[in-house]
């Protein structure tokens, strides 16, 4: 076996028969129109060709049959999808661990009661501010009070809570307060990093991008807070800090995950437009094989190099390129 091929064969994705994680955007629709949204979701943005309930449940059955251990349901806002709970229940009752990503605006008692019966590893709620004004500036029309109430309800039901904070010029000054909020709400993790230049954020980049000085202070604060929280149950997660850092790590060890779009297409990486499979037509096993092949494909590797070198190229990530059959 040649050297380069031998190195590739040691990758985790070359050993596994299925992904460890499926991140499934079940809709592009959302009840909010956040300025920093990486998927360009907003009210009425449901795609015409999104998987319907039967197709979604069929895909869920395939994930179960292929023994995928962990599925993240996200969007858009997954809770606007009428069959969200059916999907979560189908997966969860079969033993698939779940992560639910939500803005918390419509997480009600019915959701909480059902999710509490399932193997939920994380309910991740976005808290992009600690004052109502800042939060609503970044998430127009959203209620911070509702998001906090959702967090409290998650914890009251014994579900694990995770908080995410997308820093922008509008809210970065409140990051430390949100960390303290996450701690007081009983979250087990606080996620942040550099703002991703994808989707709506890319369009509004000049308005949103924090300055170098803001990022410098932000990182100092994160390091200080991480030290202060060393003996607490709240973990701060902020590395790899940027998309480029994440891509750089993926070059040698591609993540053992599939990112499934609302229409069943599978992306090679969030920051790239390349699509490697279509789960309307491909089986999960085929999609996984195509994903592995994509991480050896010279075209994809060249696109990765460009995306690592030039962050502005991430702005093309949502201009999906038709799946290329791998034979």
């Amino acid at each position: 076996m040649r050297g380069a091929e031998a190195a590739l064969s040691t990758r985790q994705i070359e050993r596994l028969g299925a992904p460890l994680l499926v991140a499934w955007q079940i809709t592009r629709d959302c009840d909010l129109a956040c300025l920093h949204c990486c998927t360009e979701s907003a009210p009425g943005k449901r795609l015409a060709d999104e998987l319907d309930v039967e197709e979604s449940l069929r895909l869920a059955d395939e994930l179960i049959a292929n023994e995928v251990p962990y599925v993240m349901l996200c969007g858009g806002e997954p809770l606007v999808v009428p069959h969200f709970l059916d999907l979560a229940t189908r997966l969860g009752r079969a033993g698939v661990q779940l992560k639910i990503e939500t803005n918390g605006q419509r997480l009600d008692a019915r959701h909480i009661a059902q999710l509490a019966t399932l193997p939920v590893r994380s309910v991740q709620v976005s808290l992009d501010g600690d004052t109502a004004g800042t939060y609503a500036r970044q998430r127009p029309g959203a209620s911070l009070e509702k998001a906090h109430a959702a967090c409290r309800a998650v914890r009251a039901a014994g579900l694990p809570l995770e908080i995410t904070f997308a820093p922008t010029r509008l809210n970065i000054h409140e990051a430390e307060a949100v960390i303290e909020r996450a701690r007081s709400l009983g979250a087990f993790r606080f996620n942040t990093g550099a703002l991703m230049r994808i989707g709506t954020a890319a369009r509004l980049w000049q308005r949103l991008q924090p300055s170098e000085e803001q990022y410098r202070r932000f990182r100092q604060m994160l390091e200080r807070s991480a030290r202060a929280l060393a003996n607490e149950s709240l973990e701060l997660c902020y590395t790899p800090f940027s998309m480029a850092d994440g891509l750089r790590a993926s070059v040698t060890e591609p993540p053992a995950m599939l990112l499934v779009l609302p229409n069943g297409w599978v992306k090679v990486a969030a920051a790239l437009p390349q699509i490697c499979a279509d789960l309307r037509h491909d089986t999960l096993a085929q999609a996984w094989a195509h994903y592995r092949a994509a991480w050896r494909d010279p075209t994809v590797l060249a696109a990765l190099e460009r995306a690592i070198a030039e962050e502005s190229r991430h702005a093309d990530a949502n201009r999906w390129q038709q799946p290329t059959p791998v034979h």
Binding site: A4, E5, A7, L8, Q12, R15, L16, G17, A18, P19, L20, L21, A23, Q25, C38, T39, E67, P69, Y70, M72, Q97, Q124, N191, T192, G193, A194, M196, C237, T239, P240, F241, S242, M243, D245, G246, A249, S250, V251, T252, E253, P255, A256, M257, L259, A270, A271, A289, H290, R292, A293, R296, D297, P298, T299, A302, L304, E305, I308, V326, H327
Partner: protein
Amino acid sequence: MSPSTPKIASPEPARPAATEQRPQSEKPRWETPRMEDVSEQVMAQPYIRFT
């Protein structure tokens, strides 16, 4: 080479996935994915943290 500008390993030509290419007798034994193998490397990706 600067650590901030890594070169991607010399690309192999795109080729069929191993499962589809090899004869039945040479098929690799795939490992079953397990929850305990869902590493920080998978979950700490910026996209997963932020979505």
